[in-house]
């Protein structure tokens, strides 16, 4: 369609633009301080003699603790990815294979009872805020479930609306939820149950925030699976749960892997929730990275090592994803 050299030139140009910062970080990480502070130097062995000192410093821990944020990030992102992919895939399966009918009015009843109940329990009956939240939830949920059974007037929502409900969570500016969660976690903490700066608190919030993407991506992968095998199994009276785990999940493996990788990258890279909800013990890598510059000034060799710590695992993920996409997997959910 276009002229060949021009086309190739464009791709090459953008590839260079993409790779140069990565090259620069890699090269800077092996520079001795003099090769950084004297102005830009480009080629190892020609402009300067490379050294691994920055890596040795990082691993020996004299330049701050890199290891524990790395472990925190790994534990939190792997656990939250596993949970959100499990729950999200189950929900996506339900949305593909079953029909849901939800009355709009019962949703409104939930919102009204939750807000009203919270104010009632907190302001009038004198419960603490965290207790009032819990009680309001326990009041609103059964009421809304009950209301859904009654022949109430008003529009009835179907599967697509449920899907939209999930996806719309992703459109929220995260600061809205993050700040609300910070308030809630600190209230619960006042009751003696620690969620701020805890493993459980971080896993919960990342699971909740990743489920919408998983539902969105997995729905398309699952919808593309043939229904006949499942129907045959149903005729043989195999329970749905077993069908899901023993037939559906193995068939959806490429999609599951791709979705898990994307979710993992998303959680690994996430900054805002960790900034608001952790203080010291469970800080993740992005928080450590964000403090590097103000904390170290212009020690760019050490900062480069730190940045590489954050980037390297996701480079692996990128290669895996590229391999998956080459083997015929198109990203689902994107249309």
């Amino acid at each position: 369609m276009m002229k060949r050299p021009l086309v190739f030139g464009l791709c090459l140009f953008w590839a260079l633009v993409t790779l140069f910062p990565l090259y620069w970080t890699l090269v800077t990480s092996v520079k001795p301080p003099t090769a950084v502070n004297g102005g830009p130097t480009y080629l190892p062995y020609i402009d300067f003699v490379p050294t691994l000192q920055a890596y040795i410093d990082a691993f020996s821990g004299i330049r701050g603790d890199f290891i524990s944020p790395f472990i925190n990030s790994s534990l939190i992102s792997i656990t939250a990815t596993a949970l959100s992919v499990l729950f999200g895939t189950m929900a996506a399966y339900a949305l593909v294979r079953f029909e849901f009918r939800i009355r709009l009015l019962s949703g409104l009843i939930f919102a009204a009872l939750a807000i009203g109940g919270f104010l009632l329990f907190n302001e009038t009956l004198g419960f603490s805020r965290a207790q009032a939240m819990g009680l309001a939830f326990l009041l609103a949920l059964p009421a809304c479930l009950l209301a859904n059974r009654l022949p109430l007037p008003g529009p009835v929502l179907g599967n697509n609306d449920v899907l939209f409900w999930f996806v719309s969570q992703r459109m929220f500016p995260p600061i809205v939820t993050a700040f609300a969660l910070f308030l809630l976690y600190s209230e619960i903490g006042r009751e003696g149950f620690k969620l701020l700066d805890s493993f459980l608190g971080m896993v919960l919030c990342y699971t909740a925030f990743s489920i919408p993407i998983v539902v969105w991506l997995m729905r398309d992968f699952l919808a593309a699976l043939p229904v006949e095998i499942e129907e045959a199994a149903l005729v043989d009276d195999v329970p749905r749960i077993r069908i899901f785990f023993e037939i559906v999940l193995p068939m959806a493996r490429p999609g599951l892997i791709a979705t898990s990788l994307i979710t993992l990258a998303f959680i690994w890279n996430e900054f805002l929730f960790s900034l608001l909800l952790t203080t010291s013990e469970w800080q993740t890598l992005p928080i450590l990275l964000s403090g590097q510059n103000s904390y170290r000034g212009d020690e760019w060799w050490a900062i480069s090592v730190a940045a590489l710590f954050g980037i390297a695992p996701m480079m692996g993920v990128a290669m895996l994803l590229a391999k998956l996409m080459r083997s015929g997997l198109t990203l689902g959910g994107i249309r």
Partner: protein, 289 residues
């Protein structure tokens, strides 16, 4: 089909999202109508819409909205133009296409915080290679991070670097789904590539373009990481974004009611932009359908 087992499948996800993602909003919504300060501590007091009123009358709020919108719209525009061009180039089977694809995946999987750190290093005034390059061309030392307009430009550049791959990936998927026969017909009528692009490719990819741009706009409005590391909102408050402003108010000043109100106004801004965007595009999209 009435199968009770379906609830077993959907309830875990539904409950987690409802409880963690949505339910806390009820609390912060009530807080947004109160005056709560932790420093100095004061008992909460119901003040109605005063927080919202104060925000709407606050010059800084409007400046932050303008700054954020500026960053979002200019960076998404550039991402779309470059991304579409590179996708077209990749689609026409350049040599080394596979390698290019892997390379183009890298930036979007990197932590924005790490990207911003690298950006800070590249745009550094004395040791950074970008300034070195410009001085070689005969420019003076440019204030990439320390002067308001340059700093905004730098943030946009870093955003473009990181997120253009997303546009490339999706536009490429769109290109691959186009029917071949239309192009064969066009080739028979001797349509130039330029005519083919504006007559066929662009209109047929309009729906996916609309979706891609929409996702990027919504995602970009959340920007905090890049700004946090690159400029910290400075110089002054000239590069402060909505999320960063909310963070400053909530965690530096502990002005909880005000911050809650701010986050809900932010939500409203995003909803308005989304609705306007869809309203503007809908007639164009329906024409094709």
């Amino acid at each position: 089909m009435r199968e009770p087992v379906k609830y077993l499948f959907i309830w875990p996800a539904f409950l987690v999202v409802l409880l963690i993602g949505l339910f806390p909003l009820i609390y912060s919504l009530t807080v947004s109508f109160q005056s709560i300060r932790l420093v100095p501590p004061r008992p909460p007091r119901f003040i109605g819409f005063d927080n919202y009123g104060a925000l709407l009358g606050d010059e800084r709020f409007w400046q932050v909205v303008t700054t954020t919108s500026g960053i979002v719209f200019s960076s998404v525009f550039v991402q779309y133009v470059i991304g579409f061009a590179v996708a077209l180039a990749l689609f026409s089977r350049v040599p080394g296409e596979r390698l290019f694809r892997v390379v183009f995946l890298f930036p979007m999987l990197m932590a924005p915080i790490a990207v911003a750190l690298v950006g800070r290093m590249l745009f550094h005034s004395t040791v950074g290679p970008v300034n070195h390059f410009f001085t070689l061309l005969g420019f003076p030392n440019l204030p990439f991070l320390t002067q308001a307009n340059w700093a905004l430009g730098t943030i946009v550049t870093v955003e473009v670097w990181q997120w253009t791959p997303f546009v490339i990936l999706l536009m490429l998927a769109g290109l691959q789904s186009l029917p071949r026969d239309v192009y064969e017909a066009a080739a028979l009528e001797n349509a130039t590539p330029w005519q083919q692009f504006w007559g066929i490719t662009f209109p047929m990819l309009l729906p996916i373009s609309a979706a891609v741009v929409f996702i990027r706009i919504i995602e970009s409005f959340k920007i905090i990481d890049t700004v946090f590391v690159l400029t910290g909102g400075g110089p002054g408050v000239s590069t402060e974004t909505l999320t960063l402003y909310a963070y400053q108010e909530g965690f530096k000043k502990f002005n909880l009611g005000y911050t809650s109100a701010l986050s809900f106004l932010f939500l409203i801004v995003v909803i308005i932009i989304g609705v306007v965007y869809l309203a503007v595009l809908r007639p164009h999209l329906e024409k094709r359908a």
